[in-house]
Amino acid sequence: MEAALWTEKYRPKTLDEIVDQEEIVSRLKEFVKRGAMPHCLFAGPPGTGKTTAALCLAHDLFGARFQDVFMELNASDERGIDVVRTTVKEFARMASLSQVPFKILVLDEADNMTSDAQSALRRTMEKYTDTCRFILCCNYSGRIIEPIQSRCALFRFTPLPESKIVEHLHHIAKQESLRVTESGLKSVVEVAEGDLRKGINTLQAAASMSKGITEEAVYQVVGRAKPTDVHEMLTHALKGDFIKAREELRQLLVKYGLSGSEIVRQIHSEIFRLPVPEKKRISLIEAVGEIDFRLVQGGDEEIQLSALLAKLASDA
């Protein structure tokens, strides 16, 4: 059955189809040409093509039936050293039935493994090098222990440039016969922030409403608060209406799914636009900074931000 999630439907099958990341793709193609590869470390933000690159590499190396010699593990799901050890061992140990010289094991979110688990993994990697190659994916290579890093070829995936995202979205829009306005597409790209998966998901959600993709539709989807929502919350507070302001805050947190630190960031940038005396701006920045710090210390987002709103409201 054809995939209905567009991120899957339009996921590249071969290295040639990959959007952007030219340098990485050309290095991976080298591996295909030689029919050999080292262990790899794919590092980069979400939605930049790490898993896709691994899948495409396996496809180009082993053909369409690569699934037999390819395994994907999510480090954060299969936590614990034991799980990794046994699962990885089982897979790596069994000599492959087909003609390929090695199998590929992709370990996603490897930076979520504890360093103990990573050490255990390192030994496993070493032991089964003959039969199995590892591709470790992570957001931050710094969170991978040195011994593993030094055993892997490092590939750094970067956020996709806007032009590449636009290109890919245009391609999907055409296939799905969507009518896309310039501003609509631009707002999808803005939302995506270099994360192609986010961009595609946003487009698909907007398309579920109507085949015409407008800026309005996109904002409705994103769930990301528009700058005006934070502005509205602050306006209620400045008018002395704490209850309404807290209501807005809850909307931002629950309905729009914003994180506390994201809201703090947006409040910070709003401070310069608020109708308050200059001196007040400085004391607000101080208060926002304090809350940012408290969130790191384990404070509850809703409660800490409420205290800030109460502070704003009391000066009304």
Partner: protein, 412 residues
Amino acid sequence: MTVEPWTIKYKPRTSKDVAGNKPAIEKLRDWIESWNKGRPNKAAVLLYGPAGVGKTSVTEALAREHGWDLVEINASDQRSGEILSKVAGLASTQSTLFGKGRLILLDEVDGINLRADQGAVATILQIIKETQYPLILTANDPWDPKIRPLREACLQIELKRLGVRDGLPLLRSILSQEEVKTNEDALRLIIDRDRGDIRSILNDMQLLSSRRGVVTVDDVDLLSGRDRTESIFEVLRVVFNSRTVAAARRALSISDVDQEMLFQWIFENAPYQVPRPIELEEAMSALAEADLYFGRIKKTQSWHLLSYALDLMTAGVAVAKQTSPSGWVPMRFPQKISSMSRTRAIRDVRKKAAASIGLKSHVSVRRAPQLYFPLLRFIYEHNPDEYERIAASLDAKEELEDLLSSEFKLET
């Protein structure tokens, strides 16, 4: 918009409107009627039963339907024999202006403190002997030894707890007037939980329905036996009305309400109970400090920090509050608690859905909700057919179906 407590708004207007206890009320009404033919054999009734079954309400209703004045003396009043004979004694013998009838209510006579209310029992007995007007005494516990003499001098009528048979129609009628949706299971549960105490039932129903205009069994479940709202109300009253640190701290000892739950109750209600912005700022800042301590305790298991958190969330709020809201402000149910209790049930469903999405789209169970749930929710809301297509292509029809009923609908 002013909100009236349902316990006042739906007070029975006449004795016929009182829910349940038909035979007892019939007996009481007969006794009242008998006064029209002169002073009956027993001039007083001892109306007894547990709290919240309508002892005071039925008395008030009777006075109203006869057009009589109601003279009421209750537990919180001074009740020494001297004062009693002055107020009740005069009321019981002197005739009224314009010859209007009169009903005398001595509320909570089992609350008489023998030392502080010296001579009270003897005085009441005297009043019963001499009264020219019907006298109703109420008590929770008629077998209390100190009121034994009263018991013998009175006609005894018992009011029982509200049962499901009488409770359901009453609640249905109130809820339909309030346009609150609910179902029979939820109503049965709440009647059972509150042990037929109408006052508690109405308080709880008003509180629960104020959130979404819908009351389900899950909502009622929130009021677990231990954290019954009755006791929470009492704690909140102390927190918001104390003027000293010591008094506010006492709130913690009068109830075994879970401390973090209590925190949520205080946080939810502070803006309504502390109307002046400048005082609210101080109260919220105390709560934010307390929250930080809770966070540190969780992170480092330093339980010795707990008492600072507790001081700040009770006394910190109490001392910040100098001004009271004008009029009665209903307590609100904390949003956090309702969502917490739901998450437990939802977690499983989410996990299963996340696993099937993750499998097909190469993301972890941990990240799948964040990456795909908002998308799916949106698609479901705007294009259910598309949602079904996606579910089918993920081989996850059942999982995504469950996800719908457990999560997406509740959040709206």
